[in-house]
Every structure is written in structure tokens, then in C-alpha cells.
Symmetry: C2
Subunit: 205 residues, 2 copies
């Protein structure tokens, strides 16, 4: 039926997302989007509607993936406490890309960036943000409850409370990333989180 698209939708959405991610919504122009995706204005509008619709589309996808990622990790892991710890101390596999010297501020979390820029004025964005963070909070809470059940956290732990606190720390870390805090300091914070809030389970031996 009709002329087939010349582009790969997923690829285009990824490119658009990266552009919004890098520069924010307001600072990303249609020109930027066109260059990044390789599409002309007409195609962009025909396929995705206007700038805002495109933005919401990629934002929603990202939010969904994020929630999936976290919940998936919790669901897949066999030891809840280990999964939780993994969110705060990078596994050995991440240690490869060690590079020293001055730290460039990273682009952070796309959803967090977008919420900061737009949540106060755009209910759509606020909605996605709220739903996503609620989901992550729930996952954390669930994992904490599981860890308590596993005997890895004290009996009297309030799972929701600790889950929320962990979410807060994770978002705080995400933010500090943008302020050129040194990786060592960030690692120390992760370590402190684990030491103080997620004490090591008894040796597995």
C-alpha cells in the first residue's frame, strides 16, 4: 500500500531521542532533528506529528525502557539484596572503561532531564515521570521486602521507606553526574549507600 518508508523508524526515534537528550527540548530545533535523523521536515511531520508529539513519543519509550530495565533486573536476579547493591556499586564489567583526567559532565538520565525542564509546565511530562518513578519505587520496595524475607536485611525494615530512600539516592547520584563530581566521589557514595543501607549478606559460602 503506497510508497514504503525509506527510513528505519527505530533508528530515527533513537536519533531524535539522543538529540533531545543532549540538548533538551527547547534547545533542540527542527533543523537539529532533521540533521540527526536524516529526514526532511515533511517526512518528520508526516510520520510523527509535530515536535512535541515526537518528543513525547521518544520520552515515553525511554521511560518505559527504564522502568522495564529496573524491574527486569529485580525480577531476574536470584538474590534481591545483590540486585539492589548492583544499582549502587558498578559491577566488575563496568570497570573497564576507566578513564582518568577531567570529567566531562554526562548527559544524565533523559527522563530526569526532561522532568526538570518541563514537568512544571507540561502535565504530560509530569505524568510519565510520576508513573515511571512510582514503578521504580515499587520495584525497589519489592526487592527490599524480598531481601528481608531472604534474611538479608533486618526484620524490622520498612520496605517502602527504604525503597523510597534508595530511589532518592539513585536520582541524586544521577544528578551529581552532571556537576562534574569525580567518579571516585560517586563511587564512594555508592559504597556508602551499600554499607549503611544494604549491609552485605552473610558470606554465601
Amino acid at each position: 500500500m503506497g510508497r514504503p518508508r525509506k527510513f528505519d523508524e527505530e533508528q530515527v526515534l533513537r536519533a531524535a531521542r539522543d538529540e533531545f537528550w543532549r540538548n533538551g527540548y527547547a534547545a533542540t530545533s527542527l533543523d537539529d532533528l532533521m540533521k540527526a535523523t536524516g529526514l526532511g521536515k515533511g517526512s518528520l511531520y508526516g510520520a510523527f506529528g509535530d515536535k512535541r508529539q515526537l518528543f513525547l513519543k521518544v520520552l515515553s519509550a525511554y521511560a518505559h525502557e527504564t522502568a522495564e530495565g529496573v524491574c527486569g533486573a529485580v525480577a531476574r536476579g536470584d538474590r534481591a539484596i545483590e540486585v539492589l547493591r548492583g544499582f549502587f556499586v558498578p559491577g566488575p564489567q563496568d570497570a573497564v572503561a576507566e578513564h582518568h583526567g577531567p570529567v566531562a559532565p554526562t548527559r544524565g538520565c533523559f527522563l530526569a532531564n526532561s522532568s526538570t525542564e518541563l514537568a512544571a509546565r507540561d502535565p504530560e511530562v509530569t505524568g510519565r515521570a510520576r508513573a515511571t518513578y512510582q514503578a521504580v519505587e515499587d520495584c525497589f520496595t519489592h526487592a527490599v521486602a524480598q531481601a528481608v524475607a531472604d534474611g538479608d536485611l533486618p526484620e524490622d525494615t520498612n520496605p517502602r521507606e527504604l525503597g523510597r530512600l534508595l530511589l532518592t539516592i539513585q536520582q541524586g547520584l544521577q544528578f551529581l553526574t552532571k556537576t562534574e563530581m569525580t567518579p571516585e566521589a560517586m563511587r564512594e557514595i555508592g559504597r556508602a549507600t551499600v554499607d549503611r543501607l544494604l549491609p552485605l549478606p552473610a558470606a554465601v559460602s
Copy 2:
């Protein structure tokens, strides 16, 4: 010395800051600034230079005030642990403005918003952010050390580590504010922080 200014500089800077705060840098137009400050373009440019210069000026002032505020509170307080706790549980005086119903996302922290929007592309902004958060971290660290000296925290506490963790939680809370998290949840997080990381000092009796 020529004609005197018709406006109050402080007032104008506050108005401009609020405008940037509410909408972000990119989404604030010169028109917005003119309406908010009541000045014409000519005056604005004559007095403060272009948009970016004005922005950096108000951002720097804000960052400075923030750091001053935190450090001042630490310096003034007589019990370091109490000052720290005060950052996470609202004092009784703040409880007045309780309003129920749906929570509107607030504008958050101007420096955090600006860092999120611009830090990755504007070294000036990154610089202010880094300096300010470093200062706050140092204050927290200092206060923690003081609290240890006061016997309000365990001897083996690592002040820097705990200071950084507290900074992280504070920023995380600041962020979650923008996601319409309920005030009760936020309070719970504050309470959890105090309970778990800043245990109450022995009763003052």
C-alpha cells in the same frame, strides 16, 4: 554623573531570576524578561549585557546565596547534628502551609535546574555548579565531623563519605519534588534519612 537609573537593580535581578527559574534558560525569551522586569530591551542590554550574561549573573548570585545559606546554618547552629537533621525534616514552623489535594510540581532548585539544562554544554554553568555543590558537600562534611566530635555520631563515621551521601539525598529529594511525589512520601524519605544516617542524639533533658 548622568541620568540615574529608574529601576531597582536587585528587584530586576530577582524578577529575571524567577523567570529563568520558572521556564529555564532556553524557554525564556527577551520578551518574557522585559515583561517580568518592566524594563525595555535597551535598558536590559545596557545594564546587564545580553541574555546569557544576565542569566549567569542571576545564577551566580543564586548559587552564592545557596552555599551561604547552608554554610551559614551550619555555622550558626549550636548542635551540628540538629542542623543536619533540619535539612531533612521540616521544622515545626514549616508545617503551617499544609495544603492537601493534588501536588503541583514545584520549580525545584534553580541551580539544579540550570545544571541539568546546561551543564553538559556550558562550562560556565558547570563551574558554578561544581563550586557550589563542593561547598555544600564541605559544609555537610564539616558538620558531620563536628557531630562526631560532639558524640552525636559514631566514632568510626567517615565524615566526607556521610557528607557526600547527605548531599546526594538532598539533591535526590529536590529532584523528586518535580515529579509530583506526595509530600508524605517526601517526608518519609527525610525521616528515613534521619533515622538511618543521623540517629537522634541522646535526649537533651
